[in-house]
């Protein structure tokens, strides 16, 4: 029952989060309200486990998502009773709680001021620094968030999460080269993360269609990123989707055979034959995935519904173009 509560609930679909938070009252009742590490009773009662506290934390996040603020508060209280109010992680959790219950921007600004005072006292408080950046982002102060993130990354450049966040912020501002740089940093930390490869492919594609200089170079690299993501993860829907999109674009845009002098450092664009074969493979694979996952075949259920729908739409527009 609680096994899904042991993982951070960031990517749970809404119905699962709701289901989890509905278990909260029973779960909170079934566990003792206070556990002290030094009591005699710990000799015969079950020992406290790290899982319990993890459950509390994730339960709190799920509850905040579904609006069960009472249970969330109870989780927070118990965590505070165990770890003390000046624990860094708990400070961030409390800030998160306050952000969630804030009703308007004024209340959020107050939370932001609290973060600032905490950071003035102790600038090495990483959870609070991250919360502050997230709050700046949700207050739509993107430039400030980017500045703060850059500051944070200067002192902690091995933080993949922060680099990924920075890449998203830059992409939202249309600063694609910076975003690409940040995603490359993420890849340097986690070189086999296929979702990051695909994400980098997407950003490269966006940079290419935004009409910046060297769009063909971006497209070529984008294709290769998607290929790599497929290489790392079989039947990766996002990778095939991107591969189809980029190869199609490069094929249609390939009318003028202007082979500009390439710099030696960049890889050459694949030739048309390879591109066509890649496109065919991607199309075939996408239709297979769509067909099988819509039919609900065994082993093909894991795909996100919205992504399957998007892939279907892409295939349909393609089919319309051909029939014309």
């Amino acid at each position: 029952m609680t096994s899904s509560l042991l993982h951070p609930p960031a990517h749970l679909p809404p119905n699962v989060a709701l289901q989890l938070s509905q278990q909260a009252p029973t779960l909170l009742q079934s566990t003792p309200s206070a556990i002290s590490p030094y009591s005699l009773s710990s000799l015969w009662s079950a020992a406290e486990s790290a899982e319990l506290w993890m459950t509390y934390e994730n339960l709190m996040l799920s509850c905040l998502r579904t609006g069960d603020e009472q249970s969330a508060h109870q989780c927070l209280e118990r965590l505070t009773a165990r770890f003390g109010a000046d624990n860094e992680r708990l400070m961030a959790l409390r800030g998160l709680f306050q952000e969630a219950v804030a009703t308007d921007d004024a209340a959020l600004k107050q939370v932001l001021e609290e973060y600032d005072t905490i950071l003035k006292k102790d600038s090495s408080n990483i959870p609070i620094t991250k919360r502050r950046i997230a709050l700046l982002k949700s207050l739509k102060k993107t430039t400030e968030a980017i500045t703060a993130l850059n500051q944070f990354l200067d002192s902690s450049p091995s933080d993949a999460e922060a680099w990924a966040e920075l890449a998203d912020l830059y992409a939202s501002q249309g600063m694609y080269p910076q975003s690409i740089f940040a995603l490359e940093e993420v890849l340097l930390i986690t070189p086999y993360a296929w979702n990051i490869h695909a994400r980098l492919g997407e950003i490269l594609y966006m940079a290419a269609i935004s009409g910046e200089a060297g769009s063909e170079k971006y497209l070529a690299e984008s294709i290769r990123r998607f290929c790599r993501s497929i290489e790392l993860c079989d039947d990766y829907l996002r990778g095939y989707y991107g591969l189809k999109l980029t190869t199609a674009r490069l094929l249609t845009g390939r009318s003028q055979p202007s082979r500009q002098a390439k710099s030696d450092s960049a890889l050459a664009t694949p030739d048309s034959k390879t591109l066509e074969r890649l496109n065919e493979t991607a199309t075939a694979k996408l239709s297979e995935i769509v067909r099988r996952s819509v039919a609900g075949e065994a082993g093909w259920e894991g795909f996100t519904k919205s992504e399957v729908i998007a892939a279907k739409a892409l295939l349909e527009t393609d089919a319309v173009k051909i029939s014309r």
Binding site: L43, S124, E184, L188, I189, P191, A266, L267, K285
Partner: protein, 261 residues
């Protein structure tokens, strides 16, 4: 065939109640006490301030770049390499840039290093002090008692192990002295502590010994007595000579060859 006569010794049954049980009980109780004393004495892991963190993580970044350089394009790699090598050589990431080139600080004068050693000392003390006290107590009160007879035969070699403190030459090695019982308790109560205190308890000395063996390579890397400037220079050199290969080269052909629809 000559039968070896079974040695019988008439013992007061009270020996059992007044030596065997007290020793066992005391050993268990001290184990529990030691666990809680260690928990109480343990100092929280020291927080590192931002400059130290920056120094360590910047070095990590260089190591990551070196290990995973294949994931990024040659141009991106070149840019990062130039930047990092430059910064490493100029000491831009050092915690104390003005101390560049002075060598490692003496770990004995560094208060941060002293604190780590104190922690280790405390752990060892929590082992040694009770052990010494109980040994003394047993020596003073129970030395020279033969308390139980093991229900299985043993060879003569076990005599020195099982009959410590009882200097009789002809006694069968099955008989066990009180001090030997104590030694057996030290090593044999592991599972009792696991049952009482959970598996990660501080009472078991096996864990203590493993802990003092060295907390791993991570601490070694940034431990006291290591000159960060030297590490940076070494890493800069490693980066400078690295031959870069791009994973994405030819990936489209690999895909076409492997993916079968």
């Amino acid at each position: 065939m000559a039968q070896v006569p079974v040695q019988t010794i008439h013992r007061d049954p009270q020996l059992f109640y007044w030596i065997l049980i007290p020793i066992t009980l005391v050993m268990i109780l001290t184990g529990v006490l030691r666990h809680y004393a260690t928990v109480l004495m343990a100092s929280a892991p020291k927080r590192q301030d931002m400059p130290t963190l920056r120094e360590q993580r910047s070095l990590m970044r260089g190591i990551n770049l070196r290990a995973n350089a294949n994931a990024i394009s040659p141009a991106s790699f070149q840019a990062r390499k130039d930047y990092l090598v430059n910064a490493y050589e100029s000491g831009a990431f050092l915690k104390e840039p003005e101390k560049k080139g002075q060598g490692a600080p003496n770990p004995m004068t560094d208060p941060a290093a002293m604190e780590g050693m104190m922690g280790m000392m405390k752990g060892n003390m929590a082992m040694i002090v009770p052990q010494t006290l109980i040994m003394g107590w047993i020596n003073a009160f129970f030395s020279g008692f033969v308390i139980i007879r093991l229900p299985f035969p043993l060879t003569i070699k076990f005599k020195s192990m099982l009959q410590a403190g009882v200097a009789t030459r002809d006694m069968d090695p099955q008989w066990m002295s009180s001090i030997s019982w104590y030694v057996l308790c030290i090593f044999g109560l592991q599972s009792v502590f696991n049952y009482l205190l959970g598996s990660d308890n501080a009472a078991s000395q096996m864990a203590q010994q493993m802990g003092s063996m060295g907390p791993g390579a991570g601490a070694q890397m940034f431990g006291p007595g290591v000159d960060p400037d030297k590490q940076f220079q070494g890493e800069a050199e490693n980066l400078a000579v690295l031959a870069h290969q791009y994973t994405l080269e030819g990936v489209e052909d690999r895909i076409l060859n492997t993916v079968r629809v």
